[in-house]
């Protein structure tokens, strides 16, 4: 049944690739539910770790998540099949647009449709934020890191890369201090 599992991985991420408008973050709750609740491939707690790691590393979030889930489920083969699945829909769409619809973004109907679709993307992002907020922010320390990160990025325009480097350094340092104490 191993081929079956690889096909399942490919199809799941292909499906996600088709609807992943507005970057990958909006799709994270869908991926989490499909992988942990529907397919039961990875426990929910571990899935949240995976999503955290995937966003802390360079690259498009949705591909990082696909790679990480694929690797957890079926090692290297799984990671390749999942990333291919998530990339192929947009690959086909972009090539078709280059060939046949060079000025599709100027078409009035298309432009009108996408005003609404971008409105849906805003809702998807809020949905993603709210779901992960409830799962990750459980005590005062979490809340402090969350507020610190938001202010650093929104008010002081800190780049996500620098923020992540700061958080990684601080977390490891605090962990080290805790260890020495005990």
């Amino acid at each position: 049944m191993k081929i079956r599992l690889l096909i399942d991985l490919f199809l799941l991420f292909f499906k996600i690739g088709i609807v992943s408008f507005g970057g990958g973050q909006a799709m994270l709750p869908l991926v989490k539910d499909e992988v942990s609740k529907n397919k039961k491939w990875i426990e929910e707690d571990e899935m949240i770790d995976i999503i955290t790691i995937a966003q802390s590393l360079p690259g498009a979030i949705i591909i990082n998540v696909a790679t990480a889930v694929g690797y957890k489920v079926y090692k290297i083969k799984g990671s390749i099949v999942s990333s291919l699945g998530v990339v192929i829909p947009s690959f086909i769409i972009i090539i078709s647009i280059s060939l046949f619809f060079a000025n599709i973004q100027d078409n009035l109907i298309v432009r009108k449709a996408f005003i609404g679709i971008r409105g849906v993307v805003v809702a998807l992002l809020f949905n993603a934020f709210f779901k992960f907020y409830r799962m990750s922010i459980k005590n005062l320390y979490n809340a402090f890191v969350f507020i610190f990160s938001v202010i650093a990025m929104l008010v002081f325009n800190l780049s996500p890369m620098i923020l992540i480097v700061i958080i990684v350094t601080l977390s490891l340092f605090i962990s080290y201090l805790k260890r020495r104490k005990s």
């Binding site: 966003q55 590393l57 990671s79 947009s90 993603a128 990750s136 979490n142």
Partner: protein, 176 residues
């Protein structure tokens, strides 16, 4: 630029594209326009097209530039170039983290990172909401209404995302 140069350039961009979404666009623009791989106005068009197609903007642009310079082979090579760094890094890190899952350092690291990542998602939401909801000096109530109703469809009524996108895409052709 040769095919190998294109591959290496996108590999480099893939290595440094952090935080997803729009942070990578300025890096892409600088590299692509200065190497004459894309004209400035085509780049802006491509960003617009990426907003109306699924998938990550950076990867879509890689596919487009590869295709325009070396057709299908170019599209494959450029897309691979931008995807490969994160593929390798993610596999390496997941392997490492899984191995040391019970280490207190790894636990504390993930505990610190996880709320920061929630912050990252919030910032993505806030930035896009600002762009979509505010039009010059006025507030775009129709878009806000679409966002509110589609949020209810997704979170309360559990309607599939593809269907919600189709419905509101159609609705907004009629009301705008």
């Amino acid at each position: 630029m040769s095919l190998i140069d294109i591959f290496l350039m996108f590999f480099r961009i893939g290595l440094f594209s952090f935080g997803g979404g729009y942070t990578v666009i300025s890096l892409l623009q600088k590299e692509l326009v200065s190497n004459n791989l894309i004209r400035s106005e085509d780049f802006i068009n491509m960003v617009a097209i990426s907003q109306i197609t699924p998938g990550a903007v950076a990867i879509n642009i890689a596919t487009f530039v590869g295709f325009n310079n070396y057709l299908f082979v170019g599209a494959v090579i450029a897309t691979l170039g931008i995807v490969l760094p994160s593929l390798l890094i993610v596999i390496f890190v997941i392997k490492f983290i899984t191995k040391f899952k019970s280490s207190t350092y790894v636990r504390d690291l993930l505990k610190g990172l996880s709320p920061a990542i929630v912050g990252l998602i919030f910032v993505a939401f806030a930035n896009i909401a600002k762009i979509e909801f505010i039009e010059g000096n006025s507030i775009n109530f129709k878009v806000i209404l679409i966002s509110l109703i589609s949020y209810l469809c997704i979170s309360k009524f559990k309607i599939k995302i593809g269907i919600v996108i189709l419905i509101f895409g159609t609705v907004s052709i009629l009301i705008f």
